[in-house]
Amino acid sequence: MKPEALLHPTPAGLFCPIGNFYVDPVRPVGHALITHGHSDHARAGHGSVLATRQTLDIMRIRYGEDFTGSEQAAGWGEEIVIDGVKVMFKPAGHVLGSAQILIEKDGLRIVVSGDYKRGVDPTCAPFEPIPCDVFITEATFGLPVFHHPDPKTEIEKLFTSLEQFPERSHLVGAYALGKAQRVIRLIRDGGYSEPIYIHGALARLCDYYQSQGIELGDIRPATIEKSKPAEFAGAVVVGPPSAFQDRWARRFNEPLISFASGWMMVRQRAKQGGVELPLVVSDHCDWPELLMTIEEIAPQQVWVTHGREEALVRWCELKGIPARPLHLVGYEDEGD
C-alpha cells in the first residue's frame, strides 16, 4: 500500500480514508483524532473526538461541555482499531496531554507527530521516538538559525532584570496553554517563591495543570488583589502577549515587557513587538532537534506539515531522505 492511500492531506486536514477520520482537522468533521489542545489543532464542533484524557479535558475547559458530539480517551500506548486501522497515542513533549499518533495498516506505519519538542519540560510527558515508515513532522522552527538555549539560563535573565529594575513590573508574555505553565514552573525551579500574578485568561488552565500534579506555587489573579500600580512594583506577571498592548496593562508599575517564545531568537522579532526582555523558551523543536529526531527515527519518508517546510525538505534532500511539504493550511506558526 502506498502511504498516501492510508493518509493524505485534504483542505480539512490529514485524512485517513480507510478509517474515515481526520487528524487535527481545521474545520468541523465527523471523526477527529486530536494531537493536543492548542486551538489551531483542537477545534470545537466535530462529531466525535479521540484524544488523550488531558487533551479532552483541555478542550472542555476552552470550548465548554458541548465541544464535541462524543469523545473517547486514548491511553498512552493503548492500541485502538478504527475500521481495521490501528492507532496509538504516544507522548510528544509539547504541552500537557500532547501526543503523536501512530497510524498503522498492513505493516505500513505513519506517525503524525503534531507539535513536539525534545528538551526537558517538567510540565508534560517527554517525547518518545516511534519507529515508522513515514514521519510527519512540523517545522515551526525549521531554519538553521533556530538554536534554542537552555531554558534555565533564559529564566536567569528574568531574575537579573528583576534585580536591575526592582521598581518595574515584569510582564512575561506566554501563550495560555502550555507555555504559561512551563514558564511559571521554570521560575519556581529557579528558586523564586514570591507570588506570581496571572491574567484571567490563564486561570482555569493553571488550575487544571495544578490538578494534574504540576506544582506552580503561589499564583494569584492580577486583576483583583491590588489596584495601584505601585503595588505591582517588582512583581512578576504572566499573561497572553496580546493583553500587554491593552488597557489591562496600565495597572502595572512602569511595565517591562518580556516574552517567552522561540521567536525571540531573532532580535528584530523582539524589537517589532516592543519586547524589552526576550526569553527564548520554546515548546517546539529547534533546528538541531528536528534533524536529530529525523536521524534517530530514520523513516523511509518525511512529510513536513507546517512552518518553514522548504528548509527542512532541502536538508532531507541533501541527506538523501525522500521528503515532501504537505502545505497544510490553518496552523498558525505564531503560537509558541
Binding site: V145, H147, F165, Q245, R250, P255, I257, R267
Partner: protein, 548 residues
C-alpha cells in the same frame, strides 16, 4: 565577551534613557578591567578594531553550510551578522560555558595583532568559541556597525552615575573634559571613578572642554534684568562646535564632545591659532567673503560623515562663526568676562583665514523691546533668534540660569490631521503615543491627506488619554504595531503641530521634513477639512531657502 554581548542584547531592546543608564552602570560596575574599558570604547565609538569585510564572513559561513539553507536563513533574519551568529554551528564542538568564552579584551588584542593573512583563521576560531550572542557582538564590532542607540554622551553619563556616592561622586563635565586625553581601556579613569586613584593627568591639552549652555527666555525673565549688563548676538542655525589646537594637534568637537575632525578637513586645516574656541559651524561664505550663510539643510550634507569628498567640500564649504574663547594658547581664560574674552578672540580671528572663520557680531540694542523687534525680524533667514550674554560672565560649563539666554524665533505652527498611531515604549507601551500626521494636497483623485511628519511628545498625560481613546475607537486598519485611524474631511482628529524648522526632503513622499515636530495642542474644535495644506509648508520652505 559574555557580559558585553548581554549588554548589547539588552540595550538594543531598551528604549528608555533611564533603562539604558541602569544597564550601562550595572555593566561598568560588574565587569572587570580591562574588558569594561574596551566595552566603553566600543559604545563611545572610540574602539579601534581590525575590520572584517562582510564578504569574508559570507565565505566562512558557506565553508560549513549549504548555500541554499544559508540563503533561507538570511532571508528570514535580514541581518548578516545576526544570521551568521545564529546559524554558526558552534554547538557541534565542545559546549561553550560562560566562563570559558574569550574575553572582550582578548578578542580586541587578538584581532589587532593579526597579520593580513591570519584574519580568516582567527575569525573562524573566535566564532567557534563564542556563544550566539557573543558571536553577534563580535561580528557587529568587527564589521563596525554597532548601532544600538547609545551616544558617547550617554556612556559618559553612565560613568558619572557609577561613581560615588559622596566625595567620590564625579560629574559628567569632568569626565567629558578628560575624555579625549584618554585611550582604551581607560583603567586610570575607572580607578578614579571608583575612588581608588587620583584624577588622571592628561598628556595632551588638545581636548574637549564641556560647553557653557544657555537657558531659553521664559515669560518674565528679562523684565528683572538690566539690558545694559547684557550683550546680544544673532543665533545662527548651524551646530555648536569647539575647535581645539595645541602643538600641531587640531581637533573639532561637537557640543557633546564627539570628535568630528575627520568630516571637516576644510575647517581644521585652516586653523592657524592655538587654544580652544567655541563657535557655530555653518556652510556657505563668511561675513568677510561677502557670500551668504547657507541653511541648515545644506549643512546637513556635511553632517554624520566620517570622511568627506572634495566635491562635497566644494559644494558645501564649511566655516566657523566664532563666539567665545576658552584657552588662549595654553592659558585658561575662562574666568575672564565675556567681553574681555571676546576682545582677545577678535584679534585671533582677524589673523585667521577669512574664508573659514569670522566673528559672531554683536547686535546693538538699548532695551528688551528693541531686541524683541530684532529677534522677530532678523536680517538673515538663517538666523533663528538671538543670544543674550551677560557682559561680565565667566565661561562656566553646564546650563546655569542667569548669565546666558537664548531667545528663539517663535516655532512654526500648522494644523494637521492624525493619520496613523503607534504604541509607545515602557510606561507608554499600552498607549498609542506616536502619531503620524498629514496635511491636504491636491491629487488626481481630488484632495487627499499626505503624511508630513511624526510626533510623540508635547501633550500632557490627560491629553494622551484622549488621543489614545480616539485611536482605539477609530481604527480602520492595522499594519503590525501601527494603526490607521479614520480621517475624512468631516471626521478625524486635528492636531496643532509646532516645529523648529522645515526643509525639502527627497526621502519623504510629501517632499518636506520638519525639525523637532511636537503636538502643541489638540484641536478638537476643528474639522480635518480646516487643516493646513501642503502648499503652506512648501511656502515656509521657500521663505527660508528660496524657490527650488
Amino acid at each position: 565577551m559574555k557580559a558585553f554581548a548581554t549588554l548589547l542584547d539588552r540595550l538594543v531592546l531598551t528604549p528608555s534613557r533611564n533603562g539604558k543608564l541602569t544597564l550601562l552602570v550595572d555593566y561598568f560596575r560588574t565587569t572587570p578591567d580591562p574588558d569594561r574599558g574596551y566595552g566603553l570604547a566600543a559604545l563611545a565609538g572610540a574602539l579601534d578594531l581590525k575590520s572584517v569585510k562582510p564578504a569574508l564572513l559570507r565565505e566562512l559561513v558557506l565553508e560549513q553550510m549549504d548555500p541554499i539553507l544559508f540563503q533561507y536563513s538570511y532571508d528570514y533574519v535580514g541581518d548578516l551578522a545576526e544570521t551568521i551568529s545564529l546559524v554558526w554551528d558552534g554547538r557541534a564542538k565542545e559546549r561553550i560555558d560562560d566562563d570559558h568564552q574569550p574575553r572582550l579584551s582578548e578578542v580586541v588584542r587578538r584581532m589587532n595583532s593579526l597579520g593580513r593573512t591570519e584574519v580568516r583563521g582567527a575569525v573562524r576560531d573566535l566564532l567557534d568559541h563564542l556563544d550566539p550572542s557573543g558571536r553577534f557582538a563580535f561580528l557587529k564590532l568587527a564589521t563596525g556597525s554597532l548601532r544600538i542607540g547609545v551616544s558617547a554622551r550617554l556612556a559618559k553619563q553612565a560613568l558619572a552615575d557609577m561613581s560615588g556616592p559622596g566625595d567620590t561622586k564625579r560629574d559628567i563635565i569632568e569626565i567629558e573634559t578628560l575624555w579625549h586625553g584618554l585611550t582604551p581601556p581607560y583603567e586610570p579613569l575607572f580607578a578614579w571613578l571608583e575612588g581608588r586613584a587620583e584624577k588622571p593627568v592628561l598628556a595632551t591639552p588638545a581636548i574637549f572642554h564641556s560647553v557653557m549652555l544657555a537657558n531659553p527666555v521664559e515669560t518674565g525673565d528679562l523684565e528683572k534684568l538690566d539690558p545694559a549688563d547684557y550683550a546680544a548676538e544673532w543665533k545662527w542655525d548651524g551646530i555648536r562646535v569647539q575647535m581645539s589646537s595645541y602643538g600641531g594637534t587640531r581637533k573639532l568637537y561637537s557640543r557633546s564632545g564627539d570628535d568630528i575632525t575627520g568630516a571637516f578637513p576644510d575647517v581644521v586645516e585652516a586653523i592657524n591659532f592655538e587654544g580652544v574656541i567655541d563657535g557655530e559651524l555653518l556652510v556657505g561664505g563668511t561675513k568677510r567673503t561677502n557670500a551668504p550663510t547657507r541653511t541648515f539643510s545644506d549643512l546637513q550634507q556635511r553632517l554624520n560623515r566620517k570622511t568627506v569628498t572634495p566635491k562635497i567640500m566644494d559644494e558645501y564649504p564649511a566655516f566657523v562663526r566664532a563666539y567665545d574663547f576658552l584657552f588662549q594658547g595654553d592659558a585658561d581664560i575662562r574666568a575672564d568676562g565675556f567681553l574681555t574674552r571676546r576682545d582677545r578672540l577678535l584679534e585671533v580671528i582677524e589673523k585667521a583665514p577669512h574664508d573659514r572663520f569670522d566673528l559672531s557680531e554683536l547686535v546693538p540694542f538699548t532695551d528688551w523691546v528693541e531686541l524683541e523687534r530684532l529677534r522677530i525680524d532678523p536680517p538673515d533667514p538663517v538666523i533663528e533668534g538671538v543670544m543674550i550674554k551677560r557682559k561680565d560672565s565667566p565661561y562656566q560649563a553646564g546650563r546655569l540660569k542667569g548669565p546666558w539666554f537664548k531667545w528663539k524665533r517663535e516655532p512654526y505652527n500648522i494644523d494637521a490631521v492624525m493619520l496613523y498611531a503607534q504604541r509607545g515604549h515602557g510606561k507608554r507601551s499600552s498607549y498609542y503615543s506616536d502619531f503620524t500626521f498629514g496635511v491636504w494636497t491636491r491629487t488626481e483623485e481630488g484632495d487627499q491627506l499626505v503624511p508630513v511628519g511624526k510626533a510623540y511628545f508635547g501633550f500632557t498625560d490627560a491629553e494622551l488619554e484622549v488621543l489614545d481613546k480616539f485611536v482605539r475607537d477609530n481604527t480602520i486598519d492595522r499594519f503590525g504595531p501601527v494603526r490607521a485611524v479614520k480621517a475624512t474631511p468631516d471626521f478625524g482628529f486635528v492636531l496643532e503641530v509646532a516645529f523648529e524648522g522645515i526643509a525639502r526632503s527627497t526621502r519623504h513622499k510629501s517632499g518636506v521634513a520638519m525639525r523637532f515636530p511636537r503636538i502643541a495642542r489638540l484641536r478638537q474644535d476643528k474639522l480635518p477639512r480646516d487643516a493646513d495644506r501642503l502648499e503652506t509648508l512648501t511656502a515656509m520652505i521657500e521663505m527660508k531657502e528660496g524657490p527650488p
